[in-house]
Symmetry: C2
Subunit: 478 residues, 2 copies
């Protein structure tokens, strides 16, 4: 029997869900038993079908009942009424969040990466052998006393580090900035996350390079953003495309990795940088200039920053130690107007109260002592060698399979397959031959591309890994 009081202050769906809950608890409906269809129950009680749907939805959301296509609505078998000491239906809880899972091929690559017997040409990072030993000898006690260190938590980041970075930006890039315009973040990634949360709303449009490593991150999709692609040619993206996207879709932010772009290793030409900075200033839309690679230049100067051409504060600059030291240190920095930094700081304060002091101390000591520059010099020499070896092998053994441009910096070679192969098949087959590769489609390209990281393996390992890749192609392409 159902007792529905249509004059009650309690909504009718709630009365239904309450009574149904009671029936389940009393055992009137047992675990696994089928409940009436929505239509039937609506008729029985004398309410709209949508009211019953609402009541069922509520009980579903707390995991008390389950609805399956084809087999109707059932009392959950994992729930209260069944075992007096029940456990939370965690599945119902974890399904309710807003974060999307990563791309299935990324998950596959991640799984494969645990297998240390496979050569890894897929990872985006430096190999662990390139990590600077000197980072492990910070000896804080010689730098600072405990009290001095723990006197002030600074939500913007450890001030001496911000000053060090400000000098670094001036010396290396001719960018004038101050410690007040710099926020230290947990890698550049955290800055990107904070920007999506603080400067953009669901439904907003943004533009990113295609292909781009941003495609491998579900973070823009998780934030409900509409993503528009800026194709890359040999001079990088075309400013004209940004204009068109603004006119058509009112893009609110342009995310770019203009120097030695991940994955193409293409750099935006100087003319286009200038054009783009002016265009975005005139449209009053900000550019995020994400620059993890510019110190890794092997043949020539790596070119100027858009930030150095920025007169209006329109360019939000992202720096990072992830690609020159290691991402495990998790130090990035954002240069932005004070309003933006204030907002991002407030948000981060809610998320985690800010960064640990330890990686900031390590980074400050490393960067201000000159050890960072020494390390980068050694790193560049080693990476140039690895690139040269990889190119040599590709030119010698891969003529039938791929075309590519020699990268002048960064960590990647972008291979175009002469005969496209389905990505999941390629990944699978490569693993069978002992090598992990990153299919381009994960990074937003069409099928038939591979991002090859030459930075993770020593030269002799590279040779073995590329031989395994050659055999993979040989087995797939007749």
């Amino acid at each position: 029997m159902w007792e529905i009081d249509k004059k009650s202050k309690q909504p009718i769906y709630r009365q239904i869900s309450d009574q149904l809950r009671e029936k389940i608890m009393k055992g009137e409906y047992t675990p696994g038993s089928v409940l009436p269809t929505e239509r039937k129950l609506a008729e029985q009680i004398g309410v709209n079908r949508s009211t019953v749907v609402h009541a069922y939805d509520e009980l579903t959301s707390i995991g008390l009942i389950e609805r399956k296509r084809g087999s109707g609505t059932k009392v959950s078998t994992q729930k209260w009424g069944i075992s007096p000491a029940g456990s939370t239906n965690w599945k119902a809880y974890v399904d309710s969040g807003s974060f999307l899972p990563p791309h299935p091929l990324i998950q596959k690559i991640h799984e494969l990466s645990h297998n240390k017997s496979l050569w890894n040409l897929a990872g985006g990072e430096l190999g662990p052998d390139l990590f600077p030993d000197s980072l492990l000898k910070p000896q804080y006690e010689k730098i600072l006393g405990a009290e001095e260190l723990f006197e002030d938590e600074d939500p913007q980041g450890y001030r001496p580090l911000r000053e060090t970075i400000s000098h670094h930006m001036k010396e290396v890039y001719h960018v004038d900035t101050t410690a007040d315009s710099i926020m230290i973040t947990s890698g550049a990634q955290q800055a990107i996350y904070l920007m999506t949360q603080c400067l953009l709303s669901p439904g907003d449009a943004i533009a990113i390079e295609a292909p781009s490593y941003y495609y491998s991150l579900p973070l823009f999709q998780s934030a409900g953003l509409r993503i528009f692609a800026l194709p890359i040619d040999e001079e990088g993206i075309n400013p004209e495309d940004v204009k068109v996207l603004y006119q058509k879709h009112r893009i609110k932010l342009v995310f770019l990795n203009p120097i030695f772009q991940n994955p193409t290793s293409v750099s935006l030409s100087e003319d286009r940088k200038k054009e783009l900075v002016d265009l975005c200033a005139s449209l009053s839309i900000p550019i995020v200039e994400d620059n993890p690679f510019s110190l890794l230049s092997y043949d020539e100067e790596s070119g100027s920053l858009m930030k150095s051409k920025d007169q209006t504060g329109n360019v939000l600059y992202l720096g990072s130690l992830s690609k020159t030291v290691g991402s495990n240190i998790r130090i990035g920095w954002l240069i932005a107007p004070k309003t933006v930094i204030q907002r991002l700081m407030d948000a981060r304060n809610q998320m985690d109260f800010g960064l640990s002091i330890f990686p900031q101390l390590v980074a400050d000591h490393f960067m201000s002592s000159g050890k960072y520059q020494e390390h980068v010099d050694r790193l560049v020499a080693e990476l140039k060698d690895r690139r040269d070896r990889a190119i040599e092998i590709l030119e010698r053994d891969f003529k039938d399979y791929v075309t590519f441009q020699t990268p002048h910096g960064g960590l990647y070679i972008w291979l175009r397959l002469k005969t496209p192969i389905q990505d999941s098949k390629l990944l699978h087959q490569a693993a069978n031959h002992g090598v992990i590769i990153m299919p381009g489609s994960v990074l937003g390209s069409s099928e038939g591309y591979i991002r090859l990281t030459f930075a993770r393996l020593a030269k002799d390992e590279l040779e073995a890994a590329l031989e395994a890749l050659r055999q993979t192609f040989h087995s797939l392409i007749k």
Copy 2:
């Protein structure tokens, strides 16, 4: 002239906004000039007023026009069409995020905290003089080699630290857990943030203690949660209240700080802990047991954990070094079912790729070497002294003004004012007398309460600070 094509695929509001934009660019409407009212323009074009509202909204959102009550709609003076090298309207950007600003009194207290000449009885942390010197001598190079360290980034947290914490939980709390059930977070705060993002949806109901330090965090409101209060008596919250809130509001999660609660320093009684664990298991709703204080026990054993009574994995446990070492280190941990940890890891991976290795190494070395326990022993002795001194002074000099219970642990004394004073007035007047206090309303109580932190000041400083507080009361209460 307006050219509206009602048969076009482009929505009419978009046609209007496009043409208006063009008029502004061409100078037909100049910066600062007043645009027609919505009603007038709608008549002129022959469309619904709501269509014009939509078009104006869009141009407002990109900062091209501004709408003010009373003075109508104007062309922005800061925008494109005005200066060819314009700057982004950052205000429009930062207003669009989902994070709420902190409570105004919190902001005020934060500002006052920069003034080092004021005695700070408001901060929730230990004083910097209590920070262990030994933490500054980690000497990583003696523990590990660089390669070993940087071989694997672990999104769940540095595994040796998770093992150390698993031992700690067993030895100190008799909780059986494994490294696999532990996730290292950037303080307990990050775990709370991740739970609001991953386990809850906007509109969901949760229950928290009242008063509670959670009220000082805008994070639940930012996540769009409905918050229900669980009043505290001398035995903590009443399980019966949880049941009622579940029945009335379908609360989905209970956040508790059951031992030496912030700010009341009350501990949940053993009977109620048991009752609550059983109740929440039977309702299948999880309890978050947030436990930063239990090691800071001055008179007796601090009591058992709800987690130690949890048979079903229903209790999500939060540990932290923030209140026993310092929050600048930013190490917290969550013990939870694998499903939950997996989801939270995925989400954090999108936010910042996880924690820096450095604070984790520091924490592991500190906790596994026995130095943590030595430090806690010294800390407890010192804090007990500070508490005793504070209580002595309060009993001697504050009889006319406040009542309180002596806390048996934690960092706070919860004062009830015999004559309530308006909180902002109290804060202001206290600052004039040289002392910063935390009004209870910030923590969700009614006016007339203060949370007094005895852990930030040395004994002689405490004396001076309390004398300043006494004078404040004297000046306000006749």
